[in-house]
């Protein structure tokens, strides 16, 4: 119950409620005004009568998202706090959630070397990809097709 009150009735949440209560009816009024102008024959107002409801819906969406995001553990402060706690207790960060690079480099690949060279090469390739980090537009994976005779 305290968490609910904190989420919906904190100072930040109240200011968000006030903002959305001013903004969304304002958008509705502007949309109504533009719809009336469009019916009176102003052709440009057809375009604006779509735009204003879009602004209102966006306002509602970001109000909901901002109420429901966790500002404690993510972001600059949260990341720094987690880094500090991980540094204060060495080994705890790796024990709870090991990074994919570590799994790929040491776990399955090392175990498979004596079994099958093809599987080992595949696992080494996976470890290499995991060490590159996530695939983004600027860091695309360079796929090399290797054929094993």
């Amino acid at each position: 119950m305290a968490a609910v009150r904190q989420r919906w009735l904190s100072g930040r949440a109240i200011s968000l409620h006030v903002a959305v209560l001013v903004f969304v009816p304002g958008c509705a009024l502007a949309a109504w005004w533009q719809i009336n102008r469009a019916q009176d024959g102003n052709q440009l107002s057809y375009l604006y009568s779509v735009m204003w409801p879009a602004f209102g819906i966006l306002g509602l969406f970001f109000w909901w998202m901002l109420i429901h995001t966790d500002y404690e553990n993510v972001g600059l402060k949260g990341t720094r706090r987690r880094t500090q706690t991980a540094a204060a207790t060495p080994g705890s960060g790796e024990a709870t959630s090991p990074s994919p690079a570590l799994i790929g480099a040491e776990g399955p690949a090392a175990a498979a070397t004596e079994e099958d060279p093809e599987l080992a090469a595949y696992n080494a390739r996976l470890a290499e990809l995991a060490a590159q980090g996530p695939k983004t537009w600027r860091h695309r994976e360079s796929v090399v097709v290797r054929r094993f005779p």
Binding site: L16, L58, M65, L76, R80, A86, G93, S99, G133
Partner: protein, 121 residues
């Protein structure tokens, strides 16, 4: 939910930067052609294309800026600054530079220094 609000900060930053530059360029003819003609007379309906184009691209700008702000956990004054910058000529460039240098780059540096989150951005 975490996909929307935590992961993919670099992609959100790139999309925000693209939209900030598009909207920042488009608002200049909106003020100096359409706005001046509205103020001094001689308005032609063709000039409204800048207003409508800016209006619709501003919606896309709001979406990209809002998601960047959510993923970087920016506080409400910064979000308001980013949103209102799309309405003033020249301000998007300044605000984009401020947001990137003051907020996003320190966050990316902190995330890169953190061993756990390196693989799951």
């Amino acid at each position: 939910m975490r996909r929307l609000t935590e992961r993919g900060l670099k992609g959100a930053l790139f999309r925000y930067q693209v939209m900030a530059n598009i909207v920042g360029v488009l608002i200049i003819p909106l003020f100096f052609f359409t706005g001046l003609h509205l103020w001094l007379g001689g308005f032609k309906p063709e000039l409204a294309i800048f207003g409508v184009g800016h209006g619709y691209l501003y919606i896309v700008y709001l979406i990209t800026a809002g998601f960047l702000a959510l993923k970087a956990r920016l506080h409400i004054p910064w979000i308001l600054l980013m949103f209102l910058a799309g309405l003033v000529p020249g301000l998007t460039f300044v605000v984009e530079w401020l947001v990137v240098t003051r907020k996003i780059q320190p966050l990316l540096a902190a995330q890169a220094g953190e061993p756990v989150s390196r693989g799951v951005q």
